[in-house]
């Protein structure tokens, strides 16, 4: 299920403005890759190009290649909608659909696409996804309550359940814990370590300890200068990045000398 991502020579533009310059990397299946870097360095922008979510922003476009197990997601005959089904995403702020119950939120990916599910099938997906998101025990007695009735951390796990319910092969997480308290953060981090058994996970985080705790590989992004595009400075095994990075910039960032 989990797929490898190969990015080569990717540039991201907003109109004429070059936001991210020339990124190439390989993201292994069944691993957690963390993107770190200071604010505005383009790591979230880059993350969104991995499932073509950037196209929602008017004027945003990319040059370069992103291969999902040898398949170019930017090939002319590929439908971005199809890509997003394959590459799920979890956002910074928990965003369950306010009009739907917990149950309906989990199967939203099917319901919104007008896919009919048998009741037994739907029940099974809901339970499997909520178990997968470590939320089943907490909500199994109130599945018909609105999704917004949960706490922030629970809502975020509900969003993860919603994302894995459609069985993607890759899961992108854009600062998934930044709006959560420490205990909820811990729950999500535990969940991430479990999820990597089945999924390719890419996570953007501002929290270096978090990157160190959950990721196998860490990529450091930085601005090439004020007003210049963001760049991938270094990517490598998390241990190595945090103990003996190759680039001076990375070391400065890790040791807290800037950013």
């Amino acid at each position: 299920m989990a797929k490898r991502i190969d990015v080569s020579g990717l540039h991201v533009y907003y109109g004429d403005f070059l936001a991210v310059e020339d990124v190439s990397m390989t993201i292994e299946p069944r691993s957690v890759t963390a993107f770190i870097g200071s604010s505005g360095c383009g790591k979230s922008t880059f993350l969104r190009t991995l499932n073509r979510m950037h196209e929602v922003t008017p004027g945003a476009r990319v040059e370069g290649k992103v291969l999902l197990d040898d398949q170019d997601i930017y090939a002319p005959d590929v439908d971005p909608v199809e890509v997003r089904r394959e590459v799920g995403m979890v956002f910074q702020r928990p965003n369950p659909f306010p009009t739907m119950s917990i149950y309906d939120n989990v199967i939203a990916g099917y319901k919104l696409n007008n896919r009919r599910l048998r009741k037994s099938e739907a029940d099974e997906i809901v339970e499997r996804s909520l178990r997968g998101a470590n939320l089943w025990e907490e909500v199994k007695d109130r599945l018909d309550r609105p999704g917004a009735s949960l706490s922030g951390g629970q809502q975020q796990r509900l969003c993860i359940a919603r994302a894995i319910a459609v069985e993607p092969s890759v899961l992108l997480m854009d600062e998934p814990c930044s709006a959560l308290d420490p205990i909820s953060t811990l729950a999500i981090e535990d969940l991430i370590s479990q999820l990597k058994e089945n999924y390719t996970i890419v996570i953007v985080t501002h929290n270096m300890q978090q990157a160190a705790r959950v990721s196998d590989v860490t990529a450091f992004f930085n601005l090439a200068g004020t007003g210049k595009p963001g760049k991938l400075i270094e990517i490598g095994e998390t241990n190595k990045i945090f103990t003996k990075p190759e680039k001076k910039e990375t070391e400065n960032y890790i040791t807290g000398r800037f950013g």
Binding site: M53, N95, T99, L112, N113, A148, S149, C159, R162, V166
Partner: protein, 361 residues
């Protein structure tokens, strides 16, 4: 895009004088209301003594007297700046009082005069075969006409208005979007009589002169209703957080399904409220209906496409034009009915926004 809603500002507290030793001793808090009551009493007594008693004159004398005295008192005891502030405060309160006069008097007169004739009989019979001064007849035909024409206007305006709002919020960009936004604003300002004339001109072109029917009335109403619907729907759609759209896209849902199944249901309470308020606005329109649906129908007509159709506002107007005592009674009863319908729409809008709003518990 985040929903930026301005919260009511903090009530600004006038700054405490920094140095009371400078002689600026503030007036006690109870001084203004006491002064006002005093002035009101004195003015009432004075007017009675002079035999000029009249509530309006009394209110004016009280307001002016209070303004003069509070300014003088403040100027003597506090200082001139404070005095000016107190004068403006009095003026601002008076402005609000002035606005309440027509509202209260209008509601009171309509209620007291309307109740004379508003009963089951009035609501269930038409004016068919009733001569103007006969002590009989009712507004059933007008109520029916109003409901039918407003309903048809809604059926035309809501889809067009909602789809345009969706275009402006979800799809539109560039010059077309700006043009539509601008002209919707302009359209909000079309005088209602001009909307009526438009349909008259259109009808002459399509069916020849002199054709009046309910459908023409409904179309003229929708010309007035569409821009209101667009405006309010647009506002409501913009309140839907972008995060929900993104969540839907990230699940591999195409844009149009995202709009239909995520954006619209999330905004449904606001959308319905907006439509109800738009209905409340056009249901009282008179001028275009005089031109398009006729002003002389007296019988029940449930066919929008054939013959003149009476409506409540036109009913009120034509009764006033006849001018007799009973005609005025009918007009007041009609006005009360109309206000009740409008209030019901307002109430329904409130209830809808209360019950349809996304639940959090």
């Amino acid at each position: 895009m985040s929903a930026t809603k301005l919260s009511a500002p903090e009530k600004t507290v006038p700054p405490r004088p920094l140095a009371p030793s400078l002689g600026a001793k503030p007036l006690p808090a109870l001084f203004p209301p006491t002064l006002l009551a005093g002035v009101a009493l004195v003015a009432a007594g004075l007017l009675y003594a002079l035999g000029w008693w009249n509530p309006a004159v009394w209110a004016i004398v009280t307001a002016v007297g209070y303004m003069v005295l509070i300014t003088a008192a403040s100027a003597l005891i506090e200082n001139r700046r404070k005095a000016k502030d107190r004068l403006v405060t009095a003026i601002v309160y008076t402005c609000f009082g002035i606005a309440m006069v027509p509202l209260v008097s209008l509601l009171w007169t309509v209620l007291s005069k309307g109740l004379v004739r508003l009963d089951g009989y009035f609501l269930t019979v038409s004016m068919n075969g009733v001569t103007p001064s006969m002590d009989a007849g009712g507004a059933y035909h007008a109520i029916l006409g109003t409901l039918l024409m407003t309903l048809m206007a809604a059926l035309i305006s809501v889809p067009i208005g909602l789809m345009t709002a969706i275009y402006l919020v979800e799809y539109g960009q560039g010059r077309l979007k700006r043009a539509i936004t601008f002209f919707v604003d302009v359209m909000t300002g079309i005088p209602s009589i001009v909307a009526g004339l438009f349909v008259v001109a259109l009808w002459i072109l399509l069916f020849g002169p002199g054709k009046t029917n309910g459908a023409a009335g409904a179309i003229s109403l929708s010309v007035l209703m569409i821009p209101v619907v667009v405006r309010s729907c647009e506002e409501m759609l913009r309140l839907v957080p972008n995060e929900l759209r993104e969540a839907s896209y990230a699940l591999g849902v195409p844009k149009w399904l995202t709009v239909v199944k995520v954006v619209l249901p999330t905004a449904i309470a606001g959308l319905t409220t907006g439509v109800m308020l738009a209905l409340a606005r056009v249901i009282g329109e008179t001028a275009p209906l005089i031109l398009t649906a006729g002003s002389s129908a007296v019988a029940i007509n449930a066919n929008l496409f054939e013959g003149q159709m009476m409506s409540l506002p036109v009913f009120i107007y034509s009764q006033v034009r006849m001018g007799g005592v009973i005609n005025y009674e009918r007009a007041w009863a009609g006005a009360l009915t109309l206000i009740i319908i409008v209030m019901l729409l307002f109430l329904a809008a409130r209830l809808v926004s209360h019950f349809f709003a996304p639940k959090t518990r």
